[in-house]
């Protein structure tokens, strides 16, 4: 199918300085956990997008010098020739598919903790980072300014040598150039502080120097957060934003604009829970009105209609994307080929980001199980190895793992029968998507539903049986499948079993009318009273989501939480607005409190630290701390148990109890995937289904194959020609 001519504008090339972008799809800088240390990962992840049609593809933020060292988090680095060597692999691979490679030169100031290099970060003024803990910078004197600008130039030269086409001076997310520009950080009284012209000086000079060094060979880009979203304490788009853009325009070849800072960078990488596609436009649209150079902007753009609107309305010339490019590296190709319903739409959950926030593990994606697995497992997002046998596969459970497993098996040509008791593919996503703000998470289900339906039409031997009666072990054995995949999911505990006591809570029983699990709340069949108490021992979104839902519906909600409430939402950047939401809905959060027992109409809470700070050996049978005397009663009309989940693994266990019957029924193997194996993130459930489908011919597909590791090798120096030996300087 050909693309809709309406979308032609997205495929017009555009000149940026000495280079040309072949179309308007541009992967803005984003972390993946590769940096310069995992060159295979870096090269493969970026080049798959080049193959998928993106015109410009960037590294993540790339440190210019050990003085800007983000360890524990993982950035790229261009500190030395070793880094040049490693990043060249990315440039070469990206160039093979006709895209431009870009690098985002980064100096963090006090936001970089320098935990590896132990250097002292420098900044415009001395300040304590609001993002990083316990990190201050040294206020730069004029010499420091010259030196740091020199770092940019040297890094830019190394970037050019590595083969990059686009070189950034990174001034978004409150990094150094913006720290000079913003009065929030810059308190200087010399000619680098005060007036806009003075505050802009550092950035302009740096652009000028970098341009002079590499501007003939490379396009000079700058990333600029045009509004800090603090009002007058920071940069405001229509004030300093447009003024700076005018001043710097002659020095850049392409503008990459966004909003926000680093401490709350979820305002830029806006989660779907709070922000729609295109949410930055009201701030960013002013820049294109005052500059001559091409502008690119971001905003979780997945819909070609919206992209066309951005370009035709003159908000930006180029569609920048981070998350949409992770969820679907082939987004541009699919638009180009008119394969709109094959697009794997980013759900905006920000689990990709969570990995960076946690501090460097490889990025994962809820929608795209191959993200981060391109090099180490050899997984291509759109291409699959043909099936290795004629075996038929019965997949029981059409949730995230079973759906993904079926999809990939079908892509590989296997005959798959996908079976579920629910009337719709999607498993618990069908419920989650009903929670406040999580509607877009339903795209995870939609993608699989569409693909599975298409694939089952192509291969008539495949079948999707929904709304079926629960399958017993006898049914499964008699079904006639060569292989059986159990993907029966998990559910919330009805008895209060939790990670703190590892036992049920006495009196907890969600079969009672006045106690509910989250699923029961979502399904809405049980009446919920005015006064609601939520007992929480889960560290992700369920408790706050239920609190939000019920408080918004007029209930008085008390949230008793024995664990750090919504801790994982710090990593997904949903935390700040989730807290604002609970605050505005008057949800009463009792932190450090958990539940010891439940009686009709009341629950007993206690402070988890109420057992005394002194630890004493008192002999067997006697606890080493004092008796916790902080217990008190809280009354409720309805109590909601968000205490933990458990796998639905009984079918799997029953099948394993009948291994003797497998052979006569022609069953070769039974596998367990997703939450049915162990409750986990949707991303990980999806991954487990995907992995099994890719590796089903292996000797023991239940366990993953080893992957290619990229680690430093003893005796091999990072910088060629230097010594890797153990040598003391004595």
């Amino acid at each position: 199918m050909a693309r809709d001519p309406k979308h032609d504008i997205l495929f017009e090339p555009i000149q940026i300085g000495p280079k040309t972008l072949r179309n308007r799809f541009y992967q803005v800088p984003h972390c993946i956990g590769a940096g310069s240390d995992r060159p295979g990962f870096q090269a493969a992840h970026r080049s798959v997008k080049a193959e998928g049609g993106w015109a410009g593809i960037n590294t993540e933020y790339c440190s210019i010098h050990p003085e800007s060292d983000d360890t524990h988090r993982l950035s790229a680095r261009l500190w030395d020739d070793g880094d040049v060597h490693n990043l060249r692999a990315m440039c070469d691979e990206v160039h093979r598919y006709g895209a431009l490679a870009g690098v985002e030169l980064w100096y963090g100031g006090a936001h970089s903790p320098n935990m590896e290099s132990r250097s002292t970060p420098r900044g415009p003024s001395q300040y304590a980072s609001e993002f990083e803990t316990m990190t201050y910078c040294k206020e730069m004197d004029l010499n420091d300014i010259k030196q740091v600008q020199g770092y940019y130039v040297e890094a830019a030269l190394r970037a050019r040598d590595a083969g990059f086409d686009i070189v950034y001076v990174y001034g978004a997310h409150s990094y150094l150039p913006l720290q000079f520009l913003s009065p929030f950080y810059n308190k200087r009284t010399d000619h680098y502080g005060g007036s806009l012209e003075n505050r802009a000086r550092f950035w302009l000079e740096t652009l000028e120097q970098v341009g002079r060094a590499v501007g003939k060979d490379c396009a000079i880009a700058t990333r600029f957060a045009v509004d800090s979203l603090y009002g007058t304490s920071g940069i405001e788009a229509e004030v300093d934003g447009v003024k700076f853009a005018k001043l710097a325009d002659p020095l850049v070849d392409v503008w990459d604009i966004d909003v926000g800072d680093i401490a709350e960078w979820g305002e830029d990488a806006g989660p779907s829970r709070f922000y729609l596609q295109g949410h930055q436009v009201p701030w960013t649209k002013f820049i294109k009105q005052v500059v001559k150079k091409p502008v690119l902007g971001v905003g979780r753009f997945t819909d070609p209609e919206k992209m066309v609107e951005i370009v035709t309305k003159g908000y930006a010339d180029i569609i920048g994307a981070a998350r949409p490019s992770i969820a679907d590296p082939f987004l541009p190709k699919k638009i180009e080929e008119g394969r709109y319903d094959d697009i794997r739409v980013c759900i905006g959950c920000n689990v990709c980001i969570s990995r960076w926030e946690i501090g460097g593990p490889p990025m994962i994606c809820t929608q795209n199980a191959t993200a981060g697995e391109e090099f180490r497992r050899g997984w291509h997002p759109e291409k699959f190895k043909k099936k290795g046998s004629q075996d038929s596969v019965l997949v029981i459970g059409a949730g995230p793992s079973g759906g993904e497993c079926s999809r990939v098996l079908m892509e590989r040509g296997y005959t798959v029968h996908l079976y579920d008791t629910a009337a719709k593919i999607g498993g618990h996503i069908n419920e989650l998507a009903l929670l406040p703000g999580l509607g877009e998470w339903g795209y995870h289900r939609d993608y699989r539903e569409t693909q599975i339906t298409k694939l089952a039409k192509k291969n008539k031997e495949c079948q999707v049986a929904l709304g079926q009666k629960p399958m017993t072990a006898t049914d499964a054995l008699a079904y006639g499948a060569d292989r059986i995949v159990i993907a029966t999911g998990s559910s919330w505990n009805t008895d209060g079993t939790n990670c703190l006591s590892h036992d049920p809570i006495p009196g907890a029983d969600a079969s009672r009318d006045d106690q509910l699990t989250p699923e029961q709340v979502i399904l809405g069949k049980k009446k919920i009273g005015k006064r609601v108490v939520i007992v929480n021992a889960d560290t992700y979104f369920m408790a706050p989501s239920i609190a939000e839902k019920l408080a918004a519906a007029g209930h008085e909600v008390t949230l008793v939480t024995g664990v750090h409430l919504a801790n994982y939402m710090h990593f997904t950047l949903e935390y700040p607005n989730m807290m604002r939401r609970l605050h505005e809905l008057h949800v009463n959060v009792l932190e450090h409190e958990f539940c010891s027992k439940i009686e009709p109409g009341r629950m007993q809470a206690y402070n988890i630290w109420g057992d005394g700070s002194k630890r004493t050996y008192r002999g067997p049978g006697k606890p080493p701390r004092d008796e916790n005397q902080s217990h008190h009663w809280i009354e409720f009309d309805s109590l909601i148990l968000v205490t933990g989940r458990h796998s639905h693994d009984s079918l799997h266990r029953e099948l394993h109890a009948k291994t003797g019957e497998w052979e006569k029924n022609g069953v070769k193997a039974v596998y367990l995937i997703g939450d049915a194996e162990a409750p986990r993130l949707i991303a990980d459930a999806t991954f487990s289904g995907h992995r099994l489908a890719r590796e089903i011919e292996e000797a023991n597909p239940q366990l993953p194959l080893p992957y290619k590791r990229e680690v430093a090798k003893w005796g091999v120096a990072h910088v060629a020609g230097t010594s890797a030996a153990l040598e003391y300087k004595v």
Binding site: M1, S392, L394, T415, H417, K457, K460, E461, Q463, A465, G467, Q468, A478, Y479, G480, A481
Partner: protein
């Protein structure tokens, strides 16, 4: 004596996303066909299989008129519980309308001598909704159309049926056997075949019946035996859609202008 239910089924065609009309302009190019068992037939087969499963001696025979590709749909029926499958075909049957198909089926019914014949209310591709009733007419058997509930004990000489009428009205009636019924969607929940029954079905024979086996001649079928003929198949031109933007007042003005344009200059 066993009760025999003959289920007449059809392999229908659905269209791929992109498709083209055949050079002669009378059908879609077969390259773009996706073939499947007619949705209604899933229900009529299920109804027959349910009767069998409820007990008593019942034989369920599926029959179709169609070329070799149709075997796939017959196998699906075998996998879902039909006992036997018959495929009737002769190249002369190409281009048959529902009357001609009914003539072929009538000949088959006379040979098979069933107690009940089930057909779907209609086929999803051509939607004439007439084959079943035409068949009853040719056989001169009692018939009922759009049946959405069916009660019958094997061996009985009557069945009780419920039909869906206009405006949500239901009609209960009894019908003498042998009879032809056209079965409506939703009468039951069709089952899915398991991999085992699919494998078993793949090994079962499909009885092939030709024109002469039925005592018919080429003039009874195909275009020659049909009362109607397709003249042209085409895709109507698409209407235009336009997004009206701007302030409320601007939108109202634009809308008024469009309405004026459509009504003509006089308005």
């Amino acid at each position: 004596m066993a009760t025999k239910i003959l289920v007449a089924v059809k392999q229908v065609t659905a269209l791929d996303e992109d498709f083209e009309i055949r050079a002669d302009g009378r059908d879609v190019d077969a390259d773009f066909f996706l073939r499947d068992l007619n949705e209604w037939d899933d229900f009529s087969l299920e109804e027959a299989v349910k009767i069998k499963e409820a007990g008593g001696e019942v034989e369920v025979v599926v029959v179709t008129v169609g070329p070799e590709e149709a075997d796939e749909s017959l196998r699906k029926c075998l996998a879902k519980g039909a006992d036997r499958a018959i495929r009737i075909w002769d190249e002369a049957m190409e281009g048959s309308d529902s009357q001609a198909i009914a003539r072929v089926l009538a000949a088959a019914v006379q040979q098979q001598n069933p107690d009940l014949v089930f057909a779907g209310v209609q086929s999803s591709d051509h939607s004439f909704a007439s084959t079943g009733i035409a068949l009853a007419g040719l056989l001169n058997w009692p018939h009922a159309a759009v049946v959405n509930q069916f009660e019958f004990s094997p061996g009985a000489t009557q069945a009780v049926i419920r039909r869906e009428l206009e405006g949500g009205v239901l009609q209960m009636m009894s019908i003498d056997l042998p009879a032809v019924l056209s079965i409506q969607l939703g009468i039951n929940t069709p089952r899915y075949a398991s991999l085992r029954t699919i494998k078993q079905a793949a090994a079962k024979p499909i009885e092939q019946v030709g024109l002469s086996d039925l005592g018919l001649s080429a003039t009874d079928v195909g275009e020659a035996g049909s009362a109607s003929r397709v003249r042209r198949m085409y895709i109507p031109e698409k209407g235009r859609a336009e997004m009206i933007e701007g302030s409320l007042a601007e939108q109202a003005a634009k809308l008024a202008a469009i309405i004026k344009e459509f009504k003509g200059a006089s308005a």
